[in-house]
């Protein structure tokens, strides 16, 4: 890579490496698969058009996360976003291995969007509270509050399946 803009091969690798991860980040904001796919497309379009060099793969992935979060935030504020039916057919669409997996997915999607975003960045992206605050441009205390509320609600919805850790 060595400080050059992404080549076609690097772009394709980045898509394969990140498409699911970024889709899930967008989904945590939108709770809507079609909107999330639109965001995914916008994010990779930006990568392809980005004219500045990346240091390495980690730099690309981190940049993609930041752009995906910003795109998602902008998208949900936009009056032009699709307001299609949310993920009611998720159980048929995604082949969950276990009923409890679907229960968790449904529970997270039922959270307020601000909470589902924080939960997702924490539990799936393994970001720390500080990193979440940085990427969402909010205070660490706000992240902690949202995490706490989300965990409490998940505990109520999922019972013993969810440890309040």
């Amino acid at each position: 890579m060595g400080g050059e803009i992404v080549t076609e091969c690097e772009f394709i690798d980045a898509v394969k490496r990140n498409n699911q991860r970024l889709f899930l980040i967008a989904l945590s904001f939108t709770h809507n698969d079609k909107d999330s796919e639109d965001i995914l497309q916008n994010v990779f379009l930006k990568l392809w058009k980005y004219q500045k060099p990346f240091e390495d793969i980690a730099h690309i992935d981190k940049w993609l996360t930041r752009v995906c979060v910003n795109e998602s935030k902008n998208y949900i504020k936009s009056p032009f976003r699709k307001r299609s039916v949310p993920l009611e057919d998720a159980k048929d669409k995604y082949s969950f291995d276990y009923e409890c997996d679907y229960d968790l997915f449904r529970a997270v999607m039922s959270l307020p969007k601000k909470q589902s975003t924080v939960i997702h960045l924490f539990y799936y992206e393994d970001l720390s509270v500080k990193e979440i605050a940085d990427v969402l441009k909010i205070k660490e205390s706000a992240v902690k509050t949202r995490l706490h509320r989300a965990r409490t609600q998940l505990k109520q919805l999922l019972g013993d399946e969810w440890n309040n850790e």
């Binding site: 076609e8 772009f11 394709i12 898509v15 498409n19 699911q20 889709f23 899930l24 989904l27 698969d33 999330s36 796919e37 995914l40 497309q41 916008n42 990779f44 379009l45 930006k46 392809w48 058009k49 980005y50 004219q51 752009v67 910003n70 795109e71 902008n74 998208y75 504020k77 936009s78 032009f80 998720a90 995604y94 082949s95 969950f96 291995d97 409890c100 997996d101 679907y102 968790l104 997915f105 939960i119 997702h120 539990y123 799936y124 393994d126 399946e161 969810w162 440890n163 850790e165």
Partner: protein, 173 residues
């Protein structure tokens, strides 16, 4: 424990094959457009700017400095924007979002109408939602896009009430 549970549950949730195909075809589409050299990024937003009084008279009040390669086509004819009280600027933010703004001014240099075109994310970033301010000052993370290459097509017609109706379309090349 919750992290493993969470990751396991969400590992089955992914974008559709069609969505991934669309993303992967981005390189092909952009290349094709680069080869033909037109409209690699289309940004079209027809905005009607109703101007109360006569515009497009000769005036030197606006600095109207052009950046990059911005062509102003007024009623089908390429013009010098400074001579028609028109100011055009293109901007880019730190994520590469592009936005172009065109404004028309009265004989005293007061902004009469402005319209903008570009990435929706860029619009949402603009402080106070007032993109016309960008014509006067940079806001937040925006900077002038000195490499911008676009056509600004302005159709100016007089309305029945004697005002002007201006339809603007901006196409990045």
């Amino acid at each position: 424990m919750n992290k493993e549970y969470y990751k396991s549950a969400f590992s089955m949730v992914c974008p559709s094959e069609e969505a991934i195909e669309r993303v992967l075809s981005i390189t092909e589409k952009i290349k094709r457009k680069r080869i033909f050299g037109r409209k690699s990024l289309i940004i079209v937003l027809a905005v009607i700017a109703a101007l109360v009084c006569g515009t497009f008279t000769v005036n030197a009040a606006t600095d109207g400095k052009l950046f990059g390669n911005i062509r102003v086509i007024l009623n089908g004819k390429e013009v010098n924007p400074e001579e028609h009280n028109i100011k055009c600027k293109a901007y880019v933010d730190d994520e590469g979002n592009k936005i172009a703004i065109v404004g028309t001014y009265d004989s005293n240099g007061n902004l009469q109408g402005a319209c903008a075109s570009g990435n929706i994310g860029a619009f949402n970033k603009i402080h106070d939602g007032n993109y016309a301010k960008l014509l006067e000052e940079n806001v937040d993370s925006f900077s002038e896009d000195k490499d911008a290459d676009l056509d600004v097509n302005i159709d100016d017609t007089t309305t029945e009430t004697g005002g002007h109706c201006t339809n603007v379309q901006m196409d990045y090349k």
